[in-house]
């Protein structure tokens, strides 16, 4: 791993950036081999840090310190095959590496690859992806600002500050067609314009890293693998909308992401990229990390703001929107991690480049977390418009053990289940909406035919119920009533009239709840009732029928 003190660099100009990049590359070239090991949470939980230490020790024992560099890198995507180790320059990737494999890997530098550990790179999992957000993930050391710079990092920020006016920056973002990656898909440019136009001395930029959807870990991987990218995106946004202060609101459940972010912020501050006079311009920008504390509702922007202000994370009615009246009443731009991670490449490569990727209304790529009953669980980035079938069966490798596909759940507790007949549908914001699901932040959970869809619906209802903030009655009590009704269906004790009541409640919540959590809470029920109605009907009993006792004991 790169020594942290060597990360105290200073970059005041383009020349400095180029020099740092050059020095970093030069340093890399001193080595004949680079052994990169994934140290994102997925691989760490499979002991990749021990493998890393063993590699370093073995390199020293063999006296190869000058030839072989061992470095920790971010997520390579295929978590199911972790810990992953890549040996450059040949780019050979080894899977499921243990400490015992370390000598063999070092032997391989002379004797050729360790066949039994090789993870082929020509499989669709790697070939079908297109990486923008994840371009550095698994390549660079997330704890080294120099490596980020060597990979072209902070050039976009420099370009924005020195060659573009704020409105030109916004223009590029608008024309790129970038939409918010947190779920709703609101055009990023529109949001930026609103904040930029708001009249105020003080404005804020907030990065929503409160990735709360159960089954989603895209943002975590980006923060752990390439934190500077998010910082750069936020700084560009700050310049564009006229904000000098940014907050990253990140889940306390992601300690590694927090640690790397804080280190990255420190390094950027040392380098003069954050703080007063960024790149020696008149633009000031500072970033602080704020920890969430286990409340899914804080992903809702007004609740998130309340939480940063040190209060209960309770949403308030919008309008006024945070763009007009946000943190401490000031105009505030809120985007999520993946949205900010797209900004630097868009500025660097231009809006046309970005707009060429994806579909007519959904531009660029989307990062998805594949999990559930699927062979290649892990993190992928694909162009918008790719079909679900390609994602599940080509990239994901299909379902394990010959299981049969039943549905993929997208959008978490706000989303729905997409059945087989829509597998060839292009994945974008509109298409998912049309089939009653939701892009959400990008979790995709594959389910086989052993899953009961009523139970899946109940699982998500339980989630929404326990995560409800309790402010508005339809959500506070409606989710409890829906959960109880679903439990009766699961237990085979519900009548048709109770099922009707469930539907009525769903309609009530979708239309009357204060925030998105409650409004979207019925979606998993509505969607499973739409496509898997039989599973509900077959469990019903006659009205006021067979139940012996009217109320359960509890």
């Amino acid at each position: 791993m790169v020594k942290k003190t060597s990360q105290r660099i200073s970059v005041a100009s383009l020349d400095d950036l180029v020099n740092v990049a050059g020095a970093s590359q030069e340093q890399e070239q001193q080595y004949r081999y680079h052994i990169c090991i994934c140290v994102a949470a997925g691989c760490i939980s499979q002991n990749s840090d021990a493998v890393r230490d063993a590699l370093i020790a073995e390199v020293e024992a063999r006296g190869l310190e000058d030839e072989v560099q061992v470095k920790g890198v971010g997520c390579m995507g295929l978590c199911a095959a972790g810990p992953l180790v890549r040996v450059d320059p040949d780019g050979i990737v080894y899977q499921s590496v243990t400490v015992d494999d370390v000598p063999a890997i070092l032997d391989s530098l002379e004797n050729g690859p360790v066949e039994k550990l090789i993870l082929p790179q020509d499989i669709p999992f790697f070939e079908r992806q297109q990486k923008i957000v994840l371009e550095n993930c698994g390549i660079i050391d997330p704890e080294a600002i120099t490596e980020y710079i060597a990979a072209g990092g902070y050039l976009a920020l420099h370009k924005a500050l020195t060659e573009m006016t704020p409105s030109e920056v916004i223009d590029v973002v608008t024309r790129s067609g970038l939409r918010g990656r947190g779920g709703g898909g609101y055009p990023a440019g529109l949001k930026w314009v609103t904040v930029a136009k708001a009249e105020s001395e003080t404005k804020y930029v907030i990065c929503n890293a409160d990735e709360g959807d159960p089954g989603a870990f895209m943002d975590r991987s980006v923060l752990e693998s390439d934190p500077h990218r998010v910082i750069e995106g936020m700084a560009i946004a700050g310049y564009a909308v006229g904000a000098n202060k940014g907050y990253i609101y990140v889940r306390a459940e992601y300690p590694l992401a927090v640690e790397r972010l804080e280190l990255a912020i420190k390094q950027a501050r040392w380098a003069g990229i954050l703080g007063n006079g960024v790149f020696s311009t008149t633009f000031d920008f500072a970033i602080e990390v704020r920890l969430g504390a286990g409340a899914f509702v804080c992903g809702e922007e007004t609740a998130l703001i309340a939480s940063i202000e040190g209060r209960r994370g309770v949403p308030r009615p919008r309008p006024p929107y945070p763009a007009d009246y946000g943190l401490w009443g000031q105009p505030t731009l809120i985007n999520n991690v993946e949205t900010f991670a797209n900004v630097a490449p868009i500025i660097r490569n231009g809006s046309d480049w970005f707009a060429e990727i994806g579909t007519e209304k959904s531009k660029g790529t989307k990062v998805f977390a594949l999990a559930g009953q699927i062979v290649n669980t892990g993190l992928i980035e694909v162009p918008m418009g790719i079909t679900l079938r390609e994602i599940v069966f080509d990239i994901g490798g299909g379902l394990p053990d010959g299981r049969n596909y039943k549905a993929v759940q997208t959008g978490g507790p706000s989303g729905g289940c997409v059945p087989e007949q829509f597998l060839d549908m292009p994945v974008d914001y509109e298409s998912l909406r049309e089939v009653g699901s939701f892009m959400g932040s990008g979790g995709m959970i594959v389910m086989d035919d052993s899953s009961s869809m009523v139970e899946v619906a109940r699982y998500f209802m339980e989630f929404s119920m326990t995560e409800s903030c309790g402010k508005c009655i339809p959500c506070r009590t409606g989710t409890r009533q829906m959960y109880d009704l679903l439990s009766k269906v699961v237990a085979g004790e519900a009548s048709q009239s109770e099922l009707n009541l469930l539907v009525e409640l769903g309609d009530l919540l979708q239309n009357t709840c204060l925030c998105g959590l409650g409004k979207a809470a019925p979606n998993p029920v509505v969607s499973t009732m739409q496509y898997f109605e039989d599973e509900y009907l077959e469990r019903l009993v006659d009205d006021n029928g067979s139940a012996d006792e009217p109320a359960g004991e509890s």
Partner: protein
């Protein structure tokens, strides 16, 4: 014209709604011409008939017997009226629901007993785990809120039924706790 057959009964209630029914006073005489009371605590009829036009039920469902009875009534009755807050919403009988059956029986038959403390095992019907309003166990056609509903409300309800109408929106006449 044959008379409308009417049944009334109380489950877990205080009989206050029946008192309010009697408070209809002289209007009872008008009604009496048109109805035939076939079953009621107010008349001396032991068996619930096989076919009843209207049943008015007061009280919540609290015991096995209540449950059995209301199901029987529902199956033999055309129009079922839930009379009063206990029948409509559970009301006071349901305030015991936050306690378990055992806790309740302990308080009633052991802790407050002055002699021979024991749980009842015969004669007294077994308590359900929770007291519930009628509509949680059978379908109800008319809900008459109030504790008790006023005599006027009850008269209006019966008059409407006798006129062949299911009274719409009684909330203009009564409310919970009225």
């Amino acid at each position: 014209m044959s008379k409308v057959t009417l049944a009334t009964t109380w489950l877990d209630g205080c009989s206050g709604c029946h008192m309010s029914l009697l408070d209809i006073d002289e209007r009872l005489i008008d009604i009496a011409d048109k109805i035939d009371v076939v079953y009621s605590p107010l008349v001396d009829m032991k068996e619930y008939p096989e076919q009843v036009d209207v049943a008015i039920v007061e009280g919540a469902v609290s015991s096995e017997e209540d449950l059995h009875k209301i199901r029987m009534i529902r199956s033999r009755t055309k129009i079922l009226v839930a009379l009063g807050d206990c029948a409509v919403a559970g009301n006071i009988p349901t305030m015991r629901n936050k306690f378990s059956r055992e806790e309740l029986l302990d308080v009633a038959y052991i802790k407050s007993a002055t002699e021979n403390p024991q749980h009842p095992s015969e004669v007294i019907p077994a308590l359900l785990p929770k007291a519930v309003p009628l509509h949680e166990v059978v379908d109800i056609d008319v809900f008459v809120q109030g504790c008790p509903p006023s005599a006027d409300t009850i008269f209006h309800t019966i008059a409407e039924l006798l006129a062949g109408r299911i009274p719409a929106d009684l909330t203009e006449h009564t409310r919970p706790g009225a």
